[in-house]
Symmetry: D2
Subunit: 262 residues, 4 copies
């Protein structure tokens, strides 16, 4: 029934050794690689160079946490009911990483990779403008959001973007996808007089493409980084719970919910 | 209704800035900390020292991946049905991190922390033996597993344990919890002639306790590390799917499931 | 490697037919059984009698919904980020069904089944009082909550309990577990002057035991019933979203989060 | 900050009563409605008529279970690691209900609703053929799958389809969407000589549209029905585990994984 062997290139185990990507976990990796190196080695089968490792660290730092987001609230509300299963709370916090928040880095990278696939490596301004207009048109035709621009809170510009741009330039990951993303922002202003600054999603989407990585990695890194932030929320929730307060607060908005008089 | 303010110490956002643990994300953290520093800073509110950071990296490397585990299989089988939602596949892969695999580091750390709470910092052998026997008795009385010993595959010893022990010693995290864990193993051999070597769960549980961290952090770190490994599985699954093969293979075991002749 | 055949008694598929518990899905079940009959047939391998079916319906109705619970909020906050993956939102809503809310019916049924296992079918009052006191003592010794009594809102009595008691009596499922649960409530009042009325969790836990079912079924039914209620929340959320309002409301509690002036 | 009141029309709670859709849960619903009536009442705010209730039961029966699917395997593999959190296993089993399996009923209903929105109630054959060809063209233009046809196992026809068609006709839910779905199948045969019979997803998608319901309800009902089937798998897994066998079987395919000799 199966011609292709059912196996993973990622690793296997014998009584004596655990092998990951052809190396012995305990002889070659544990104690020698840090986590980001190990993760990238597990994903891609080669140890990242220094710049790749730095850039991935910056993306993970960007994803880690920003306070009481829907992700943190879902995790805390889940922990409230099942403190014996923190993995369920972390999972609940990750499940919203879809096409609107957090996971959007993948959609953005897909949008940029697809629009830029015939773009030369050093496109001139006219080519970029044309490509950006085409990207916008394609998204509209497919009735799809344009990812990576605008932010409900950072309306004058997402403070993460200039820092990520600077870091990308330093590390050699400022290429045609970054430029296309910036041109999309510019076209919105020029053609429609709309001020929609690039957001962190747009920056991360561009970086992943300029690093030459699969768009799925964009969402994957956001999930790993955010898992770290969610550990912080559960740790705080365990020692100083606010999940119940969130519930009480929401119920109190609807005057029909009458709390007991004690 | 609420006297205590509903807020998190972790962070907040204004139109101009994102603040994490009192520092400006873009001025003070992004580009300055790596991911493990950022995660520990987010959890504990202080930047880890070098040894803490190294030890946490070693734990994350340990957790990252070991081939086709139930965790990787759940993630791949979920991706097979919902490739548009990789966050759901990662979540499915984390949800089994309970009291039997992966999440067990927390149960083990709780077991050790509770048993060792009255143990002096440098216990003598008799005190350790007594404490280990008490730990075993308490677990039996509660009808609970003894965490951290034995392994279905690594029956002659888990190869991760001596490396983690060595790294713990180098970094200053080999203390009474490690010694207690080792004494539990010894007591099983002495009292019952059972060879149940310490496994990676026992090593990580002991390290977390000897670092002075909350047992929940033990499970949290396994989840973060494993999230990294699951990204590798989804990336491979996307380009070289084995989810369908797993399904076909399992169905083929039951001769009543007849595949179509085409 | 495997002696026991890897197969499920639940069902299998051939090109021509789907078989569930030995019956042909399309000839024997679809159009002939309703959902509750089908579910119980799938779980237990026999078609439920009329009273079993009615009692299970009452439990599912009890579980279905009660407004903006943590379960509904997690689902809505997840949907906000990933509207393309409603299954992730439903899953997030179910993940908190642990030892504190919703899933507690299983813990309660386990507590009652274990305490009542040597109780005669028609225990006299003294025997019940002694058994209830023993149950309380055992829970304290294990440092475990006493499930099924008390409610943060229904402080004068959970309105579902008398109705479930009446329905249990009508259908023949009012037995020693119900009586034990009621005696636990009574003992709290007599011995400690604490008014902790039975809650819906206590009623469902007792019913499951008096139906002779495995405690796990208690949690299983809560999850199925609540999945139905969560569909209602997502349907409302899709057409009249309040997820964003919940987020805004929570952020607004912390005066450090300053919303943009537009 | 919020003009629109933050409340749900679904329900609320006071110390004395739980109100669902304006009715008192314990006076008006519990004991009076069965689960399917309660669920539909919770979703839509009105008690379904007899035919709606029957049709929804048939969909839930269709969704309930079909043996060792990826959904059942994910649930069992998750339970293997976290038997103390069955809600995590049920959630893991639901998370794959995306655009490839199970959840596809929603994609199919969206496809049909969108294609048929200008179709008259009783379209003639030419109009249907034109609409079906347009549907196929639109899906190709969007690079989207055509949902509801073909099946990897039931290659000569999905046995559920004729039964669901017959039941739809009896209950008055055989309308233009069913006809369009059948015409899509016909056009594939006429225009491309491809035999791609309608599958259960196509039937359920058509029924939901012919009932006048939102496509999301199609996925919602599959999730509720499947949750019931997953309870059966966990109940079997608890008493006769095959999760470990699945793991062993998969590992044994890769000859590099050497099991210990004991």
């Amino acid at each position: 029934m199966q011609d292709k062997p059912l196996k993973t290139e990622i690793g296997y185990t014998t009584p004596e050794a655990i092998t990951v990507r052809g190396k012995n976990l305990t002889d070659d990796l544990l104690g020698k690689l840090d986590f980001v190196e190990m993760m990238l080695f597990t994903i891609f089968g080669k140890i990242p160079n220094d710049n790749e490792k730095k850039m991935v660290n910056h993306i993970l730092v960007t994803a880690c946490d920003h306070g009481l987001t829907p992700s943190a609230m879902s995790a805390r509300l889940t922990y409230l009911g099942a403190p014996e299963a923190p993995q369920a709370a972390i999972a609940a916090g990750l499940l919203g990483a879809g096409s609107v928040f957090l996971g959007t880095t993948q959609n953005c990278a897909q949008m940029l990779a697809s629009a830029a696939k015939d773009l030369p490596d050093a496109p001139d301004r006219d080519t970029l403008m044309q490509c950006a207009r085409q990207l916008i048109q394609t998204s509209r035709d497919k009735n799809q959001a344009i990812y990576g621009i605008g932010h409900p809170i950072h309306i004058n510009g997402d403070p993460r973007v200039p820092v990520l741009e600077q870091l990308s330039k330093e590390l050699g990951y400022y290429g045609k996808h970054w430029q296309l993303m910036q041109t999309v922002q510019e076209v919105f202003f020029l053609d429609r007089n709309k001020k929609l600054p690039i957001n962190a999603v747009g920056a991360v989407g561009a970086i992943i493409c300029d690093m030459g990585l699969d768009p799925m990695i964009a969402r994957g890194l956001m999930l790993v980084g955010r898992a770290g932030g969610l550990v912080a929320h559960l740790y705080e929730e365990k020692h100083n719970s606010i999940g119940q307060q969130i519930w009480d607060l929401v119920l109190a908005q609807d005057k029909r919910n009458i709390a007991p008089s004690r």
